[in-house]
Symmetry: C2
Subunit: 546 residues, 2 copies
């Protein structure tokens, strides 16, 4: 096999083999030959964004849903524009392959001052080494195929970004003949695994009221079905972190909702913190996940399993794959529980108030909650879009996306592009503040170009609303745009401006029925109106600012 396949062809082949059917990016002369090859290939499609930043976020969203994603850009001016989006993918465990064009190997001889070069020809790779788990420059046909395999394997193994640089004169060069793809998977140490499982099962069974705190890795490693099976069987209640919202649906009998320390809902916080056995599964104790470290849970008195480590109480097991541990628990002899526990409230019916009732954030989320179905994916940007959305009732797993740890504003609009291509069956509802929208919102152009139909809800509170309660000043203001006119610029889509309950409700319904293109609903809210969740949070955040 692979007789006389070129390096570019082999890279496309491997992307496709691992489920990547869409690559997001923008060309540039150092990347043109690879773009050309991708265009001519029947294995994948290129999705062009307006700015590389948008391509980076789209690839991140795609990777979260599909298990692997790719962004392709040119050297320097393209690559460094996805530094931030790649850092987010690293921090939040999203396996994005960054593919960068580069000057040809021949051009690089004698170290000339080629355009887009910064310090030396390795500058970009060195930068990406800071937020990828593997990187390579495909400058040698003898090793290129092996390198591609190695790097993609790392992305899949660690669920984090990797970096592949392809000098433009290497795209059409044949790699080694008769190359055998031969990377075997990692395996757990069977004895360590057995010992850990025996101990865990015994601890869980002797606990009065065990609880599972499920994190984002359950999603990233594709273990949602396994977790649900485990919880179905044992009826141990499952809370999730903010970052992992929608890792299990809210309508399961064992669902508790989101746990976030003192900033979360009181009944969930109390239930989790009073448990005598917390089983952490793939959860990272970040500041936002733990309610700015108000979480009163002690991993040293818990079972704590992630892809990076497995600890029980104060001791640590090595060489155990997270997946094997979770599957082992599922198969273990764990008794069924019958304790009652809080459950996420199913969405109450919503009736807009008559007359010109100003739109309030809390009521907006109430309305949305009754509006969304299992066929929607909610993509929440940073700010009250995210915090308010924490209380949304999610009907099916993976129907909620947000950068709830790294928290880079401007994720959601380009993420809707990535989410569409990862799962076209879901219609995206984007929740975004006006500040975040002004960063990347014009990627609506990409949405218009490809005829996608998300419903984009812009919460317009005239600036960086999350920061105002921490420390306010003119630096938190932004210019008010007439967001609802954007469809006129793009020549597609429908725009709405609403400032009251009735109009918002009508706009939502009209947008739902308008499926041929995107809708943008600008919702004017008061400058100081916030969701209850954000009010709880910012009082803690403000303490650190002054």
């Amino acid at each position: 096999m692979n007789k006389s396949m070129t390096i570019g062809e082999y890279l496309i082949e491997q992307l496709s083999r691992h489920g990547v059917s869409h690559v997001f990016g923008i060309p540039g002369d150092y990347a043109l030959s690879f773009f050309d090859l991708m265009t001519k290939s029947d294995k994948l499609d290129i999705i062009n964004t307006c700015d590389e930043q948008g391509a980076g976020f789209a690839a991140d969203a795609y990777a979260r849903i599909k298990g692997l994603g790719a962004v392709c850009i040119t050297y320097g001016v393209g690559g460094l524009k996805v530094a931030n989006t790649t850092a987010q993918a690293f921090a939040e465990k999203s396996p994005v392959i960054v593919i960068s064009g580069a000057p040809g190997v021949k051009e690089q001889e004698k170290n000339p001052l080629l355009h887009h070069k910064v310090k030396d020809f390795n500058t970009q790779k060195k930068v990406f080494d800071e937020f990828t788990v593997a990187s390579t420059i495909l400058d040698d046909p003898a090793t290129a195929f092996y390198e591609i395999d190695r790097v993609i394997h790392c992305a899949l193994r660690y669920k984090r970004p990797v970096y592949i640089e392809i000098p433009r004169d290497m795209v059409s060069v044949p790699g080694v003949r008769d190359y055998q793809h031969s990377r075997s998977g990692d395996i757990s140490d069977p004895h360590a695994l057995q010992e850990a499982l025996t101990e865990a099962v015994q601890i869980i069974n002797s606990a009065e009221r065990p609880v599972i705190l499920a994190g984002v890795e359950v999603h990233r490693f594709g273990l949602q079905r396994e977790l649900v099976a485990f919880a179905e069987k044992t009826q141990i209640p499952v809370a999730t972190t903010i970052l992992a919202k929608s890792v299990i649906p809210d309508n399961k009998s064992f669902s508790l909702g989101i746990y976030e320390g003192a900033t979360g809902l009181k009944e969930i916080t109390e239930y989790v913190e009073s448990s005598d056995c917390i089983i952490f599964l793939g959860a990272f104790l970040t500041d936002l996940n733990t309610g700015i470290y108000t979480a009163n849970v002690d991993t040293a008195r818990s079972i704590y399993a992630t892809s990076e480590k497995l600890t029980i109480y104060h001791h640590r097991y090595d060489n155990i794959l997270f997946k094997d541990f979770l599957n082992g628990l599922s198969d273990g002899d764990i008794k069924k529980r019958t304790e009652t526990h809080p459950v996420p409230a199913p969405p109450p019916p919503f009736h807009p108030l008559k007359g010109h009732q100003k739109m309030k954030v809390q009521r907006l989320f109430h309305n949305l909650n009754s509006f969304i179905t299992k066929d929607n994916i909610i993509i929440a940007d940073v700010g009250d879009a995210l915090f308010g959305a924490n209380d949304l009732y999610i009907h099916q797993d993976t129907n909620f996306l947000s950068p709830a740890y790294y928290a880079s504003l401007g994720f959601s609009v380009p993420a809707a592009v990535g989410a569409h291509y990862a799962n076209p069956a879901l219609r995206a509802i984007v929740l975004i503040g006006d500040g975040a929208f002004q960063m990347t919102g014009m990627e609506l152009s990409t949405i218009a170009r490809y005829g996608l139909n998300p419903i984009v809800i812009v919460l317009n509170n005239e600036g960086y609303g999350t920061e105002r309660p921490m420390l306010d000043g003119p630096f938190n203001d932004i210019l008010p745009w007439k967001y609802s006119l954007i469809p006129e610029i793009l020549g597609r889509g429908k725009g709405f401006y609403v400032d009251n309950e009735k109009d918002f409700d009508s706009a939502l319904r009209e947008a739902r029925d308008y499926t041929e293109d995107f809708s943008l609903i600008e919702v004017k809210i008061d400058r100081d109106d916030r969701s209850p969740a954000l009010n709880r949070l910012t009082s803690y955040l403000a303490k650190e600012v002054k």
Copy 2:
């Protein structure tokens, strides 16, 4: 002095002392306390952009004109968004101070998972070490003042970016009392300088037809007056590189125009290449500066002086400041020249063709050439906006800005913001392609917010026109926007759509008279219409792609 001054206050004091009166940026919780301090200070103003990328480009433009600039952003999500703009500032020698907020020193203890963190708390600094000449984290009050001085000194010494990270709990902490600012300037080795000057003067005087090739460093080190004085006195003709366009005005008797190898104007190329003594002053031999290395000039048979090295023929002098060498030449006993040489053609009068004459790129630049005055600064984005603009006749020094080496698309609109605050007397004319505009053009919002009045000309050729002649495909297409409607979204400014000579000419004049806000002129040109300069260039660029 400096009794009980805080670290934040001292940083503001030093920015101001070195001429920085405007800082571009976007806050975030880790940067809020420093934003608050800047707002309350009477020494500088904050200019808020839509996205951090815009702030980075604005600070770069400001630094090029004013000699020092600053961008202030938050940790991670802000900092990494200016990675690309800082790389450009590094590559093109623009002294930008990147000031990043960061988690407090106390918060960082125990290495917790704080939001916006990537790998560890040093990740961002390590990234910036790749494209800055000095960096520091102000985590120690005992050294903070010294560190601020050291790092700003490096920015000024090397005319390149530096990085200052200020943990949020350090902003209000007093530094050392009675700190004496005591950094002395660098000096040349007087003996080496004397020897180099003697040799250079003798070589120049014995040459038949010396020529000066002036580069961007003459601008960056503020040596334009010195160069003009030297050329006035000796009448040695001066050509400039693309990157250094406008380093001297075109209307001087000794001006030759732009030298760019085989891709430049034939008479200039011949004049320069047939010289028996080329004096390189602050010029870097990049690919675009040398017409994709078609330049037929040999630095080993020349006098070659930059801030980084001084060589004459094959030998090298160390420890000589570029400035001292140029001043020494100026004072040297160099004979006056009388040879005739090509001169830049003063702009011929332009008369729009009557009737509906399609707009052609060449005619657009012809029209512009007769339109601009010494009160305009031309800011050209990458693409034909830049290459076509090479032929513009510039009336006064520093009236032309463009990223002609690193070549990052999207520079020009935010650069107009920076240019305004660096020199409010100049009215900017922005030349930008539609592809570049879709990246950062919405920074018109910043222009609208602060009531600036540039004339922004969008060359709409439906995509990445510079790439089409190299290798074309659907990846070079973009969605057509109705650019002229953007003022309606922003609530300020005037929009024009033109597709013929007459309308373009009227729009230009109307925009000139409309001084209260910005104008945006969308010029529809044919997909394959290009300036003569770009046609010359792309035939060389295309050779490397395939």
